[in-house]
């Protein structure tokens, strides 16, 4: 490093001091626990007594734990249905809200609103909507002559119910899509119009490729969030019925805070990290086939 002048040095110190609250917070409350959890995952640890090193025992036992597989299955099921749905619906909504009509900002606000509500409040609200007897959803279905399912009370319908609920919170994703749409240069559409392209053609050949980096970003962040689904199981179903909504992170939570098995729970957390990592790497590799980045 080149020799620093006195002023540069002082500026550096000042800068470090200014960001120190964040850096210290990060080191103490984020990085520290993350590093420690690696150690805990190789130990038996109940919080109150010092951790005891047990090597790979937590990991090998998890491999024989039927609830590990069950909760992983539930989580993958949820992710596989929730993420594509949210992606498609949020794009459709963004396309609609991208038109330059009067009062569009009001609609944008309305569709974004659910995303600012707390997860617990939303969960309670949806418990009402899914109520088999007096819920709005089954009421609407009854107008169509359909006897609605028992939703959260049924081991077959509980996961689809939570998937449907996840579509409601797509406001954040929609806003990102909207930003992506507005970043597309209008010249492209003008040229296409002159060439006589249809609306469908324009969407397929201009909009979709141009917005593909945005979609890719949403795919990755949504998937990561979806793998960590927790609040709904905690508030609405307690993992039931018949373990049908025992999601991975909920199972981890139970192990950690109900059974005080921090070591086992830490191992579960690192396995989930590895799963998400592999999933993301695969997506990154696949993205080369469909994500279009403008050159230069």
């Amino acid at each position: 490093m080149a020799k620093m002048t006195k002023t540069t040095k002082r500026n550096l110190v000042t800068a470090l001091l200014f960001i120190s609250p964040w850096v210290i917070g990060f080191l103490v409350f984020t990085l520290g626990p993350i590093v420690l959890s690696v150690y805990y995952s190789f130990s038996a640890y109940n919080v109150f007594q010092p951790p005891i090193w047990i090597g790979l025992d937590n990991y090998t036992t998890i491999m024989d734990d039927p609830l590990f597989y069950k909760s992983l299955y539930n989580t993958v099921y949820y992710t596989a249905l929730s993420v594509p749905g949210v992606l498609v619906l949020s794009l459709l909504l963004a396309l609609l809200l991208n038109s330059r009509l009067k009062g569009m900002n009001i609609f944008r606000t309305i569709y974004f609103l659910p995303s600012v509500l707390s997860g617990v409040a939303v969960s309670l609200l949806w418990m009402w909507l899914f109520n088999p007897d007096s819920g709005l959803i089954n009421l609407l279905l009854s107008y169509l002559g359909i006897e609605g399912p028992l939703w959260l009370n049924s081991p077959y319908w509980s996961k689809p119910a939570l998937v449907i609920m996840s579509y409601w919170g797509l406001g954040g994703v929609m806003v990102i899509n909207l930003a992506g749409l507005q970043a597309i240069p209008t010249e492209l559409y003008e040229v296409a119009t002159i060439d006589g392209a249809s609306a469908w053609r324009k969407f397929w050949s201009i909009t979709l490729p141009m917005i593909s980096p945005t979609l890719f970003f949403n795919l990755i962040t949504l998937s990561i969030g979806s793998f960590q689904v927790f609040t709904q199981a905690y508030v609405m179903t307690s993992g039931g019925p018949v373990n049908s909504t025992l999601f991975y992170v909920f199972y981890l939570y139970r192990m950690a805070f109900e059974n005080l098995r921090m070591g086992y729970a830490s191992a579960l957390a690192w396995i989930l990290f590895a799963i998400i990592m592999v999933f993301t790497l695969i997506q990154l590799r696949l993205s080369k086939r469909w994500v279009y980045y403008q050159e230069g």
């Binding site: 038996a44 109150f48 007897d133 059974n259 098995r261 070591g263």
Partner: protein, 423 residues
Amino acid sequence: MRKRVSVWLLAFSAVLVMSMVVSAAPTKITFWHIYDGGEVQSWMKDVVRRFNEANPDIIVEDLGVNFWDYWTKIATATAAGIAPDVAMNDLGNVGQRAHADMIIPLDEYMAQSGVTLDEFWPATHSVIIWDGQVYAMPWETDVRVLYYNKAAFREVGLDPESPPQTWDELKEYADLLTSRDSNGRLTRIGFHPNLSNMYWWIFAWQNGATLVDDEGKIELYTPEAVEALEYVKSFLDTYGLRELTSFTSTFGGDAMDPFLIGKVAMVGNNNTFRETILRYAPDMEFGVARLPHNGTPASWSNGFSLEISSQSKNPEAAWRFLSYLMSPEIQAEYAKVNSSLVGSIAGSTDEELMADPSWRVMIDEMGVSRFRPFSLEAPTWYDSSLSPELDAVYQGMKDPDQALRDAQKNYEDEVARWHRTHR
């Protein structure tokens, strides 16, 4: 030279005086509980004040924390090494803390002050003893009894003064009390075996199952236990799963409790439910009776313990305060203030309390009540190993025999996994 000596002397005597002051200063101990407001908190403050006045060598400082935050706070404080000397905790999992050496055995202190186990309800003994030693005092317990709607009894021609006593009668009465509208939809059910505070294990006990084997290990798969599950299921079959789920999904708590609004004619609920009825439906005509059984009277209890932390520097003083709280006088006061079924038999059978016939029913039921067996390896076995299997029976996916066989296997696997991860 002389000056220096006198300075030293002065300093020395100052230290001496100060240390005397310190040793004469009262011992300070901390006490955490869940009373953070209302009448019960003022009463608890008063109890602490009275103790402090009567014991000038001890100062108890109490802290009431909201029930929902309490558990996190006490766990965090214990992990940080600053646990209160005396604390309330969950009676159902004392063994977990005893095993982790978070709390100390009380046998010696009990012997010194002449406190014996038989002062407390027998049901609590199984949970306050861990590895042959007493680790907690049963501050407060509870019990499930049968509440029934007298008006509904009269309406269907049943004698409102003779509640059902056996399983057969319970089923028979329940069928009579169940009504449907012209579309066949339920308008009232007689009895719901999984509602409010009723669970399968209560029925298993009532049918002679103990849920533990000769060595004290949890045993869920026995003929009596299977029969009890079949009995529970028979109610659901009568109502119909879909119909019953729709019906119960409209139920709420407190003022909207299904018993209070007349949607369920008989419920098993704990002793404090009586207060709920009196508060929200003061005009309701209801009876309190012992739970019907099938040969073995039994009910289910849980509650709060008082424990001394192993981090306490003054366990002697902590015990003096703890034993004061467990004295029949204070226990009786608490029972009156909070309508609580306290752990002390003398306290909960106080003359004034026993003047009330429904209190006597609860006391009778407490005599045959039990706690869920505790398992160190799977402290929440009823959620993790059992509950999904019971769900499967209620959903019609498994028969009771298979479900309990699987529950037992789940439990044993859970225990095995615990041992694999604890050396």
